[in-house]
């Protein structure tokens, strides 16, 4: 069983995002970076799949600058076997990232390629599906949980108000959202071992970008609101305001 898991280095969810001097990117100064939380679910799913199979390999893959090696080390520390960093300048857009990942995966044979459902920086929610399309592989997105029996994969997709059960065949592409794959912590032993695991670096074959950010802006500051009152006695006044002032009920 060979599993590829794609990960991304993103700003911590606590981080205040400040617009950089160019007006088009987020200023990384003083920001703590983490492994994209959805990707951690994918890593956990990959590790459990390898453990259940009793054999196999988990390969962590990312597209990014040299600093993204840190994210790969973190995934190796969780238990991945080896890692590949596809080096790219700046922050390539989703389409270009998908192209680079697809080009790399074309060179590898694998059973399952896993992604996080979305990256919490650009919020694009597209790279997994785009890779699946480029490789002409069956794909299921927003998967909470999946099962593999031989070459048959059954995946539960999160949809509005319920779950869609999808059937596909390996090799396939899945993007993972929150489900039972609670990510494990890296043990000290894992962290030590990660330092010795292979981490290969090569140039990313990103194609042409098909979109570009022209400007970033902050959403309008919300006016600090008003406390209508204390306790249940304030309810009639709240209802009146919602009806007469906001006109939303």
């Amino acid at each position: 069983m060979k599993i590829v898991v794609c990960v991304k280095r993103v700003p911590d969810t606590e981080a205040r995002i400040r617009i950089a001097g160019d007006g088009r990117s987020a200023d990384p100064a003083g920001v703590k970076f983490i492994t994209n939380p959805y990707d951690e679910f994918a890593v956990e799913a990959a590790l459990r799949l390898r453990e259940a199979a009793g054999e196999g390999e988990v390969v962590a893959l990312t597209v990014g600058g040299p600093e993204a090696a840190e994210t790969l080390r973190a995934v190796l520390a969780m238990g991945a076997d080896r890692a590949v960093l596809l080096r790219a300048e700046g922050a390539p857009e989703g389409n270009a990232v998908a192209e680079a990942i697809a080009a790399e995966l074309r060179e590898q044979s694998f059973d399952v390629a896993l992604f996080g459902m979305k990256a919490i920086d650009d919020d694009l929610q597209a790279v997994g599906a785009m890779v699946g399309e480029r490789l002409q592989l069956p794909t299921a997105t927003s998967v909470t949980e999946f099962r593999v029996e031989g070459s048959r994969v059954t995946a539960d997709r999160e949809v509005e108000g319920g779950i869609e059960v999808v059937e596909l065949q390996t090799p396939c592409v899945l993007t993972i959202t929150k489900g039972p794959y609670e990510p494990r912590y890296a043990s000290l032993k894992g962290i030590m071992a990660a330092k010795k695991k292979p981490l290969e670096e090569k140039e990313a074959a990103t194609g042409e970008a098909r979109s570009r950010v022209e400007s970033l802006s902050y959403p309008p500051e919300r006016q600090s609101g008003r406390i209508v009152g204390q306790g249940p006695d304030a309810v009639p006044e709240l209802v009146r305001l919602l009806r007469e002032e906001a006109k939303v009920i």
Binding site: A155, E160, G161, V166, Y218, R222, G231
Partner: protein, 326 residues
């Protein structure tokens, strides 16, 4: 004449309300002289309500009805859509920002070699190109993104484009379907818990969200009752209660949950952590109910009541019920 195509999502044989939002967004993007069209895919009979999309601004609806399309398959749907888009002068393809839209749209973009932007809250044409406004970092900032080349593929955020009901009826055109077995890679074989029935937090005009202040999963009944009397409301949750297993992840609002933009958002027993705010601060109106007057949620709320939710929520439900019945 340039055309803009809206994906009129159907599930279990019915066109979903988000389809009308996609048409509305396509209309908002259209230049004078552009034609707005829609496409519906599904099993036999799914095109029954297609002509009705004329009332929100579609001049023509392409209908692909086939037993083969009854169950959703991203690959097969992509093949049909790509065939349609290649057959005409389409400037843009607009999808709802639903689970299906976000599954299908990036796949179509990759198939067409087209640029893609998701969850757009604004769309405009600059020259021949589409410029999308969309949230990044769960709405901590907004980006203007230019999609180069044509067509552009986009999904639109729920509630971001107002649907204007008019009159009129669209011309219905059957789609020529030629699908091969190879077009069915992944296929939906079962739908659990009545997926079509429940209103999703990302689509509902009113969201009633609860947090750890609810103390016990059973107490979410209070919020469900409130949502019910409000009508058109969905129940959401903070991550704390999702992590505790009280509510499913699909209800989670925030940076690692859904970004929502309803008309009205209730944060009940929710402190207002930065990751939660990221997901709901673009709601039109925010109401906070919290016993802690210093809770950060009050900094973004338009209206707040300080106090015990167990006393306040039932009273609120009762008050709104009275209002509704008078």
């Amino acid at each position: 004449m340039p055309r803009i195509l809206a994906f009129a999502e159907a599930r279990e044989g019915t066109i979903r309300p988000v389809a009308r939002e996609a048409v509305a967004a396509a209309r908002a993007l259209a230049a004078a002289g552009d034609e707005v069209e829609a496409v519906v895919l599904g099993g036999a009979g799914v095109g029954g309500e297609a002509a009705g999309l004329g009332s929100v601004g579609a001049s023509r609806v392409h209908v692909g009805e086939s037993d083969a399309l009854k169950a959703y398959s991203p690959e097969a749907y992509t093949t049909v859509l790509a065939g349609l888009v290649r057959s005409g002068d389409y400037r843009a393809v607009v999808f709802p920002g639903s689970a299906m839209g976000k599954d299908l749209a990036p796949r179509l973009a990759a198939r067409l070699g087209a640029g893609y932007a998701s969850d757009c809250t604004g769309l405009e044409l600059e020259g021949e190109e589409v410029v999308a406004t969309r949230p990044r970092y769960a709405g901590k900032v907004f980006a203007r993104e230019r999609i180069t080349g044509s067509p552009a593929v986009v999904t639109v955020r729920g509630n971001a484009f107002a649907v204007e009901e008019g009159s009129g009826s669209a011309e219905v055109v059957p789609l020529d379907l030629s699908l091969r077995e190879a077009d069915f890679g992944a296929i939906v074989c079962e739908v659990r818990s009545g997926a079509a029935a429940k209103l999703d937090v990302a689509e509902a005009p009113i969201v009633v969200s609860g947090g750890r202040g609810l103390r016990d999963p059973a107490n979410f009944k209070l919020l469900e009752e409130l949502a019910e009397v409000l009508g058109n409301a969905a129940v959401g949750a903070s991550r704390a209660v999702v992590d505790a297993g009280w509510r499913p992840h699909s209800d989670q609002v925030g940076q690692t949950g859904k970004t929502v933009a309803p008309q009205l958002y209730f944060a009940i027993g929710i402190s207002g952590a930065i990751q939660h705010l990221a997901g709901m601060r673009t709601a039109k109106y925010i109401v906070a109910i919290n016993k802690d007057p210093d809770a950060p949620i009050f900094k973004v709320a338009d209206y707040g009541i300080v106090g015990d939710l167990f006393e306040i929520v039932p009273r609120l439900t009762e008050e709104i019920r009275r209002l509704r019945s008078s």
